[in-house]
C-alpha cells in the first residue's frame, strides 16, 4: 500500500514526467507560422494584457512549447539581466557607422528620412558656443 506522502510525491513525479513527454512531442507538432510574436509575448510577461486578451494567449502558451519557453526565458532574463538599465553616453560615431552601413544595404526608396545626424544636446551646445563666439566678436 502506498502512503499518503508517497502518493502525493508519485503524483507530482507522474505529472512532471508526462508533461515533459508531451512537450517533447510538441516540438515537431506545432506549425512554425502560428507562434505568438515578440509584441504579444512581451506584453503577456509584463502583465499588460486584460482578461479577454489573455485567455487566448494562455491557451496558446499551454499548448505551444516554443512560445512558452520563449516567455519563460523572458522571465528568467528579466531576473538575470534587467537589474540595472544603463544609459549609454558613448559618442555617436559608432551608431553613425552602423546606420551608414545599413543604409547602403537598402535598395534606394523614396523615404522622407532625415539622414543628417542630429544630437539635440550637441546641437544646443554648438549653438550656444556659436552665440558666445558671435557675442565676443561683436564686443
Amino acid at each position: 500500500m502506498i502512503t499518503v506522502d508517497k502518493k502525493a510525491e508519485t503524483i507530482r513525479e507522474m505529472i512532471g514526467q508526462r508533461l515533459k513527454a508531451v512537450a517533447v512531442a510538441e516540438l515537431s507538432n506545432v506549425p512554425v507560422q502560428s507562434h505568438l510574436d515578440e509584441d504579444v509575448i512581451a506584453a503577456f510577461v509584463e502583465g499588460r494584457l486584460v482578461d479577454n486578451e489573455c485567455q487566448p494567449v494562455l491557451a496558446h502558451l499551454a499548448a505551444c512549447g516554443a512560445c512558452r519557453r520563449a516567455s519563460a526565458q523572458m522571465v528568467q532574463l528579466e531576473n538575470q539581466v534587467d537589474a540595472a538599465t544603463e544609459v549609454s553616453d558613448e559618442e555617436p560615431g559608432r551608431l553613425e557607422a552602423v546606420l551608414s552601413r545599413l543604409r547602403s544595404a537598402v535598395p534606394s526608396i523614396n523615404e522622407e528620412v532625415v539622414f543628417a545626424y542630429q544630437n539635440p544636446e550637441e546641437t544646443r551646445q554648438t549653438e550656444a558656443s556659436d552665440e558666445a563666439g558671435d557675442k565676443q566678436n561683436n564686443d
Partner: protein
C-alpha cells in the same frame, strides 16, 4: 506603423481623435525632431487596436468607444513614438534609441551567448533587423513596425534579442540541434527499456501484458485529468516542470497586479508581493485536482479497484512518454497567432 506621412486617420480611432491629438502633442513636445507625424502615430495606434481588437472587446460593440479610450491610454506612447521615429530611419530617434537601449541589448546578448564575437554578430543582426534592410513595395521593412506599444519597448527588445539568439544557434548548429532533438525524443524509450529490464526481475508477478494494460490506462487517465485543467493551471505546471522556472520566478511573473495568471488564481485581486509559498500552494491545488480526476477516471471509466489504481501509480513514473495525444491536452489557435501569420514575422 507606416513610413508615409500621408496616411489617413484610421476609422477605428474616429471616436478618439482628441486623445490621439493629446498623445501626439505630448510626444512631439518631448522629441520634436523624430520626424513622426500625427498621422503616423494615429496609424500605429490603429494597428495596435486592430491587432488586439478581437480579444479586447474593442470591435463592434456599443461600449467600444470607452474601451478604446482605455486601451489607447494604456499603450506605451513614448515607446511607440520612438519606435516610429526609428522605423522611419530618423537619426535623432536612432540616437535616442541607441543611447537608451544599446547597453541593454549588449548585456542580454552577452549573457545568452558564450563569446563576445558571437554576441557582436547577433547585435549586428538585431540592428539590421530593427532598421530593416529589405524593401517591399517601396517600403523598408523595419522590425519596429511589429511593436504596438502594448508592452514596454524594453520588454519587446528582450523578446527580440532572445529570438535572435535562438535563430543564431539554429543557423549555426542546425544539424547538431536536430541530433539533440532526436536524442531527447529517444530518451524516454531508452529509460523505459532500462527500467523495464530491472523491474522484470523484481516484479515477476506483473506479467508484461498486464503491465502494458495498466500503463495504457494510466496514460489515458492522466491525459484526461491534465486535459480538464484550466489553461492557467496547465501553464503553471508546465512553467514549473517543463520550462524549469523557479518558484520565485513564477512568483515574480504573477507579482504584477495586472498579471494574467495571478488574476486567475486570485479572483479578488489582492495586491502586494506574491510569495513563493503561494505559488507552491497553487501548484499543490493543481496536483490535487489532477490526482482526484486521475483516480476518478481510472475507477469510473476503466473500472479499476483502489489496489489497481495504486499499481497504476507505482508504474506511472516509469514511462509516460508513449502515446502522447496532443489533441487531448491542447487548445485551439488564437487570434494572435493569426495576426503573426498575417504579418509574416518569425
Amino acid at each position: 506603423m507606416t513610413n508615409s506621412s500621408a496616411t489617413k486617420f484610421p476609422e477605428t480611432l474616429a471616436n478618439c481623435a482628441e486623445e490621439v491629438e493629446a498623445i501626439y502633442a505630448q510626444c512631439a513636445s518631448a522629441h520634436p525632431n523624430f520626424g513622426v507625424t500625427k498621422e503616423d502615430l494615429a496609424a500605429a495606434l490603429g494597428t495596435a487596436v486592430e491587432k488586439f481588437a478581437d480579444c479586447s472587446g474593442l470591435a463592434g460593440r456599443r461600449q467600444s468607444a470607452r474601451k478604446l479610450r482605455t486601451f489607447i491610454s494604456e499603450l506605451q506612447h513614448g515607446d511607440v513614438y520612438l519606435a516610429l521615429g526609428c522605423a522611419r530611419g530618423n537619426e535623432a530617434a536612432w540616437w535616442e534609441f541607441d543611447r537608451r537601449y544599446r547597453s541593454f541589448i549588449e548585456r542580454l546578448a552577452r549573457h545568452l551567448l558564450s563569446t563576445r564575437a558571437d554576441a557582436d554578430e547577433v547585435i549586428d543582426h538585431i540592428y539590421a533587423e530593427l532598421f530593416g534592410t529589405k524593401v517591399v513595395d517601396g517600403v523598408r521593412l523595419s522590425k519596429f513596425r511589429t511593436y504596438t506599444g502594448r508592452g514596454t519597448l524594453q520588454g519587446w527588445l528582450r523578446a527580440v534579442v532572445s529570438n535572435a539568439v535562438i535563430d543564431f544557434y539554429r543557423r549555426r548548429q542546425d544539424e547538431v540541434s536536430l541530433d539533440r532533438l532526436e536524442e531527447i525524443g529517444e530518451e524516454p524509450r531508452v529509460r523505459h527499456s532500462r527500467h523495464a529490464h530491472a523491474h522484470r526481475a523484481e516484479e515477476s508477478m506483473l506479467a508484461t501484458v498486464v503491465r502494458e494494460r495498466y500503463r495504457t490506462v494510466t496514460v489515458a487517465a492522466l491525459d484526461h485529468a491534465l486535459g480538464t485543467l484550466d489553461d492557467h493551471e496547465k501553464l503553471l505546471l508546465l512553467y514549473y516542470h517543463v520550462d524549469g522556472l523557479k518558484l520565485r520566478e513564477i512568483a515574480r511573473l504573477v507579482q504584477e497586479p495586472m498579471s494574467p495568471i495571478r488574476r486567475w488564481f486570485q479572483r479578488r485581486g489582492r495586491s502586494g508581493r506574491v510569495h513563493e509559498s503561494t505559488v507552491m500552494r497553487w501548484l499543490e491545488k493543481a496536483y490535487e485536482k489532477v490526482a482526484e480526476r486521475f483516480r476518478s477516471e481510472l475507477g469510473a471509466k476503466h473500472g479499476l479497484s483502489a489496489e489497481e489504481i495504486d499499481i497504476c501509480m507505482s508504474i506511472a513514473t516509469e514511462d509516460l512518454g508513449h502515446g502522447v495525444n496532443l489533441q487531448s491536452m491542447t487548445s485551439g489557435e488564437t487570434s494572435f497567432t493569426k495576426v503573426k501569420t498575417a504579418e509574416g514575422t518569425s
